[in-house]
Amino acid sequence: MPQSAEKVLDHAPLFREPEYTDMLARKKVMFECGVSDVQIQDTSEWTKTWEYREKNLARTALVVNPAKACQPLGAVFAAAGFEKTMSFVHGSQGCVAYYRSHLSRHFKEPSSAVSSSMTEDAAVFGGLNNMVDGLANTYKLYDPKMIAVSTTCMAEVIGDDLHAFIQTAKQKGSVPENFDVPFAHTPAFVGSHTDGYDNMMKGVLEHFWKDKERKVGTRINIIPGFDGFVVGNNRELKRILDAMGVDYTILSDAADQYDTPADGEFRMYDGGTKIDDVAAALDARATLSLQSWCTKKTMGFIGEKGQETASFHYPMGVGATDDLLMKISDLTGKPIPVEIEKERGRFVDAMADSQAHLHGKKYAIYGDPDFVYAMARFVMETGGEPTHCLATNGKTEWVEEMKALFASSPFGANAQVWAGKDLWHLRSLLFTEPVDFLIGSSYGKYLERDTGTPLIRLTFPIFDRHHHHRFPVWGYQGGLRVLTTLLDKVFDTLDRETINPGVTDYSYDLTR
């Protein structure tokens, strides 16, 4: 009997006990009708070849292990960054259960959102009643200050008109006439979660800025973009802006919403951009987007309103942070303070201390387009080479941006960009053109298992490591953390490779 009360065996050791391995071996031989071990081995080897890679890259319809989600997830995330705002997703209810679970699994936090729970009858007659009843219930039960409406693909396919539905609901008294119900159509069959973020941001600004005259002020707006590290990053951003003495509004700030304290009280809402500040943000002098690919439409809209706009690709690393701070300084006339300059110096000092361990290292990087851009840029700052850069939701223009980035550094000479490809493509790339490290999300662990490439988790979603997102990766301080994360993996890998006593441990050095 393998199990005991003294030392309770968990699933991993329990099923390695002979009682279980024998049982599962019998199951395989007697009942599974599987293919032979030789065939499995042969096929497995074949998937590592250039021949397989070519067949794999030739796919035009099948997508396997994509690194992207659908629009409404981004819309729910964007809405979570506004004061006391409840996301209301119009369409099938299962979708909302999925977004909530997905966000909770990453942040280890509550994620509140409601559905209009449309079913077959709504598919035939449209979801107007669901909107009317749903808004009334949400308003009454959850006491929001704003309800942000987005859509699942079901509502989009049948063509429900959010604007008209919300108007009708207001006329029927579901919510008061002057209650804020911004909305965005977020079809899952167009783009990805980054587009959903964009659409919801634009929807919110349109709602608050329509029919309003702009009075040019001195503040600046900052839109962070869809970011799994929002908790650490937005707080770091605010610290830097406060140190500079800048007047700013962060449009969608979900840092507190996804990091509520455990003190005996469940806060359904916490923090977020104040509703009044959203309206006032029209008067800002300029708006900066920290993730260009999350805000194309939103920034277009803001530009049309007469504001100066500038977009960045995730301010991670030395140059990316420099660019952002100089732009902010330029716009506001506030100099970059000495403390921040010293932080820069310390960050660069750390890079110098460790440069020998990172120079020449090859990486595969995947994730959202802005993250991949920033990560590749930082890797090159350390003397590393971004061999494969992949974004399932990357577009043609992103490819051009990446190529320009590669051309800007000798470390980009052999870099390749893969837009619209998935993690099964990446598997082929890693077998045929291997790298030293893989940078991405938790889903990358399957690539680590198959190809042996050590995975560094630095982007959403991270399900199997806890609390990384509570620390920043933006700015010089954040950069220090990214640097340390890379180095930890380098050293852990080196230690693992040299730990064999009497065989490899001559290199198991105490000081590295």
Binding site: Q3, S4, A5, V8, L9, D10, H11, L14, Y20, L24, K27, F31, C33, G34, V35, S44, T47, R59, A61, L62, V63, V64, N65, P66, K68, C70, Q93, G94, C95, A97, Y98, Y99, S101, S104, R105, K108, P110, S111, S115, S117, T119, E120, A122, A123, N130, M131, D133, G134, N137, L141, Y142, C153, M154, V157, F189, T260, D263, F266, Y446, D450
Partner: protein
């Protein structure tokens, strides 16, 4: 060793009245039917104990805007029934999201080389784009299946798990499946589990069961089936139905059934192969654990193939013993004798587990809100550890589930069907149980309230919880949740103390 206790029904009634007051009138009336307190019933169960009545309406559409915890038909089919079948590729047919959010989240353990001969923890999708909605997705589906056949040649078949748009744009996935089955000779199963169908996951289970019947048993696609010529039936052949091998549950169950002298010829659907599905009608008895998700196919196998079925419960020693004896009785004295030996063998472990953990858990109260079988099936496992259930409810149960719940819960237990976020929070606040068992969406709100929590869908990344080996893990997990020191740290010491901090107990 059933515990004897009742709960404070009057307090529970008051909580129900309170939550209903928060709704607009129309919806207070509708929600009222889903909330109740277990009453003493007239009927007496097999165990000789009077059953309670858990009389609520169920399996009805969720109300819009209330934060239902339910999922959809796709989740019931792809996520629950089909997804674990390991040697088939399951296509999430439609936009990317559904497959992405459900990717690797059910913890259906299996043995195999992923991506080569098994495919459970992978996300295959047709990733619908606008043009697929406008022009239809059948051509794309054909191409997807062709590409699977090229890149994953050892896959035994393919299932097409429909997402919402498929049924709305009029695609004919059945025709595509037949065509491709003919061409490839492999089983292709179209499943009409669009998320807007039905009111919850439940209809997805039913649709998935029907797809097994039509496209595997009746082989509507006409594909070549697994060569099972070498299979020699025995009088002790059983299928385990409705065990998804979460954290290895089915393995911790199988080991007991084998020790009893039975032969598990198919496990549905955790760690299952297509061959195990095809062979099922040749078994002598279907043992069904998750009644809600797979009773349909058991009834069908009984009608068409004469395979009897029996419900059982492998959570906690009381139920395991009762279930093993019930199963053994079906097979006669020889098996019964072996079964008694198995029970005696594991009694040592059970006694040790209870001796260790019961003193740490005695009298602790538990509220549950889960899916198919667990809102009732795990109750006795808690009671075996001296714990008391004060509230329970189903996300997608039907009337027959609530009827069966009467065998488990005590008078005065709060019963909530398709509970809303608001209600659950208020109920938990009002009852202040020592432990809540529910899902990922509920975990963090509850923990912030200072109440220990275990996910009872995924076993909170632990498990197995089935069988005797699983019971030890279950007991250990409940102990570590309740007796962790963190619950005593929530109030800052400079704040006025409302109540004494809970005491923690270190692991032994």
């Amino acid at each position: 060793m059933s515990l004897d206790y009742t709960n404070d029904g009057e307090k529970m009634e008051a909580l129900i009245t309170d939550v209903l007051n928060a709704y607009p009138d129309k919806f207070a009336k509708r929600r009222k039917k889903h909330l109740n307190v277990a009453k003493d019933g007239e009927e007496v169960g097999e165990e000789g104990r009077a059953l309670t009545e858990c009389d609520v309406k169920s399996n009805i559409k969720s109300i819009p805007g209330v934060m239902t915890i339910r999922g959809c038909a796709y989740a019931g089919s792809k996520g629950v029934v089909w997804g674990p079948v390991k040697d088939m590729v399951h296509i999430s047919h439609g936009p990317v999201g559904c497959g992405q959010y459900s990717w690797s989240q059910r913890r259906n353990y299996y043995i195999g080389k992923t991506g080569i001969d098994t495919f459970v923890t992978m996300q295959f999708t047709s990733d619908f784009q606008e043009k697929d909605i406008v022009f239809g997705g059948d051509k794309k589906l054909e191409k997807v299946i062709d590409e699977i056949n090229v890149l994953f040649p050892l896959a035994k078949g393919v299932t097409v798990q429909s997402e919402c748009p498929i049924g709305l744009i009029g695609d004919d996935i059945e025709a595509v499946s037949k065509k491709k089955a003919k061409e490839s000779g492999k089983t292709i199963v179209p499943v009409r589990c669009e998320g807007f169908r039905g009111v919850s996951q439940s209809l997805g289970h039913h649709i998935a069961n029907d797809a097994v019947r039509d496209w595997v048993f009746d082989n509507k696609g006409g594909a070549k089936q697994n060569d099972d010529a070498g299979f020699e039936p025995s009088p002790y052949d059983v299928n385990v139905i409705g065990d998804y091998n979460i954290g290895g549950d089915a393995w911790a169950s199988r080991i007991l059934l084998e020790e009893m002298g039975l032969r598990v010829v198919g496990n549905w659907s955790g760690d299952a192969t297509l061959a195990e599905i095809e062979r099922a009608p040749k078994a002598k008895l279907n043992l069904i654990h998750c009644y809600r998700s797979m009773n349909y196919i058991c009834r069908h196998m009984e009608e068409k193939y004469g395979v009897a079925w029996m419900e059982y419960n492998f959570f906690g020693p009381s139920q395991i013993e009762a279930s093993m004896r019930k199963i053994a009785k079906h097979f006669g004295p020889e098996i019964e004798e072996k079964t008694e030996a198995v029970i005696a063998k594991y009694r040592v472990l059970v006694d040790a587990v209870i001796a260790k953990y019961r003193p740490r858990l005695e009298g602790k109260t538990v509220m549950l809100y889960v899916g198919g079988l667990r809102p009732r099936h795990v109750i006795t496992a808690y009671e075996d550890l001296g714990m008391q259930i004060v509230g329970t409810g189903y996300e997608f149960g039907h009337g027959d589930d609530y009827q069966r719940t009467g065998h488990y819960v005590k008078e005065g237990t709060l019963i909530y069907d398709d509970v809303t976020g608001y209600e659950l929070e208020k109920f938990i606040e009002g009852v202040r149980p020592d432990l809540v068992g529910s899902g990922i969406k509920e975990k963090y709100p509850v923990q912030k309230m200072g109440i220990p929590f275990r996910q009872m869908h995924s076993w909170d990344y632990s498990g197995p919880y089935h069988g005797y080996d699983g019971f030890a893990i279950f007991a250990r997990d409940m102990d570590l949740a309740i007796n962790n020191p963190v619950w005593g740290l929530m109030k800052a010491p400079w704040k006025p103390k409302a109540e004494p901090a809970p005491t923690a107990i270190a692991a032994e």
